[in-house]
Point group: C2
Chain length 298, copies 2
């Protein structure tokens, strides 16, 4: 496994691989890898010749009151996991390398961002889109892998690839969960033991919503109110930030669900804000299918 | 010469050329080609295997009161010129092709834009940077050619390539002039015969400024006031929009010139706003050298 810190060296390496006809799978991360990331890497391994994993905590996507400084970092451990998963190249630049002229040019995202997490994190997706433009230009991947855990991020990347005509295929991958259903996240380690127990209800609440859809309910407002009611009933420590039921990936609100939709929620705990969602299709009762890639792992 | 209208076909064609090891030179234009563009094409021919010329009048870089609708267009004539100059591919998409999701994602340029033309054209360079991100992703050029006539545009593209890590070499090319010194521009046809005669003084005024530098003057303010005085004395029909003397390409104002600098002006006529500039170096009396590429033509 190769470690690369310089953007120029990264791009030169890619150009050489492409000249040899190798396809590039790219998994962009902020590090502190967990099984969600491992699943993305496995998807990339299964679908591409070379897997590039980037580890970069991107300051531009954190708000002034967010946790950029304290975001968990453990590059040593990340390297061990990446090596074990068969990553070919880890790209681990520093901030000056990625922002050589500071933040003097940014991407502004005007659609799909004033709902869900975007509405309480102004500028967050501008930061995400900005770093991805840089990373896409350096890594020039054929396919890029994102977890549906951050479903709004997937929607923004989908929009970005279409808007900016990147010749890149977006591969959204199923959310990886703990045995009790809690979505894996780097931020879960910040939950107290009581909060951790309670947090199982996020996914339970979303599944209540999905159950309604599968029984024939189509009113987004009704599904939203039932999921909200479930969470209000079951959460004692966490505070609901939002519950939303929207079309996907356009994230437009609609009275009656048709086609692909998302049921999403965010809950604020003392030291961690958790998000979770279910993306499904009214014509297809399997959660996440056929939108999400889901290779047979092992 | 191949005409391509679809972004996908354009990108597929490029990928095939790259697989054969061909280098791509790219000349982005809004059409209505003149000798300035022809010079860019000749530079690209001299430095690359394949020359792609794009013709696209980009709505996002026109302000609400600007001339998007009436901007001169003549694709038939453009094709004849491009063919004659040996262009390999003309990319001529329509607005829906380039903006499939409207203007839902834009590039915001925060530096080098609040001076010169940028200050009177808010959003103009956001539109330029946005279309170039799209075009760069589709055409994937090795080198891109811009005329120094739009020196601020060259400065913004320079910033864009660095900010966004495009593996593209920017080749700024000398401004092409009429015999009397007027910079070639698609908008010159809108000058009345009297305006056309007077317009020679833009370049004359700039040269007065360069003469001062070459005589040892280093005060940007003094050079600016002398160029302004020259224009005020010689212009009767045109109205000075700005005269500026700045560092280049950072476009920072400085008390005393050192290294590379620009002397620039804009003049408003009844139906046309003209711009011109001289980029030079206090250590090198040749105008535009060694910054601008200047192949021996013919």
């Amino acid at each position: 496994m190769q470690m690369i810190y310089s953007a120029q060296e990264m791009n030169r390496t890619i150009q050489q691989l492409k000249e040899k006809g190798q396809t590039i799978g790219f998994v962009p991360t902020m590090g502190y890898l967990h099984e969600g990331h491992q699943s993305l890497i496995r998807h990339a391994k299964a679908m591409c010749d070379i897997v590039v994993l980037s580890i970069f905590v991107n300051p531009a996507q954190f708000g002034p009151n967010e946790d950029f400084e304290t975001y968990p970092r453990d590059i040593k451990r990340d390297k061990i996991i990446a090596e074990k998963e068969g990553v070919n190249i880890v790209f681990n630049p520093n901030v000056d390398e990625m922002y050589p002229l500071g933040e003097s040019m940014l991407v502004t995202v005007k659609d799909r961002v004033d709902v869900l997490c975007g509405s309480s994190r102004p500028g967050h997706f501008d930061g995400v889109a900005t770093i991805l433009v840089k990373l896409f230009n350096i890594v020039m991947p054929d396919k890029v892998f994102f977890g549906l855990k951050d479903a709004q991020q997937v929607a923004v990347v989908d929009s970005m690839i279409k808007n900016f005509h990147y010749p890149i295929q977006l591969v959204p991958c199923q959310t990886i969960r703990e045995k009790d259903g809690l979505a894996k996240s780097s931020r879960n380690i910040r939950l107290s033991s009581d909060e951790r127990k309670e947090a199982v209800h996020l996914y339970q609440g979303l599944k209540e919503g999905l159950l309604l859809v599968n029984k024939g309910e189509r009113s987004a407002a009704h599904i939203k109110s039932q999921v909200t009611l479930y969470l209000e009933t079951h959460l004692r420590l966490g505070k609901i930030d939002y519950v939303e039921v929207l079309g996907y990936p356009d994230l437009q609100s609609k009275e009656l669900l048709n086609g692909r939709f998302i049921i999403a929620c965010a809950v604020q705990y003392e030291h961690a804000r958790l998000i979770d969602n279910i993306v499904a299709n009214v014509n297809n009762k399997l959660e996440g299918e056929p939108y999400a890639a889901n290779i047979n792992e092992k």
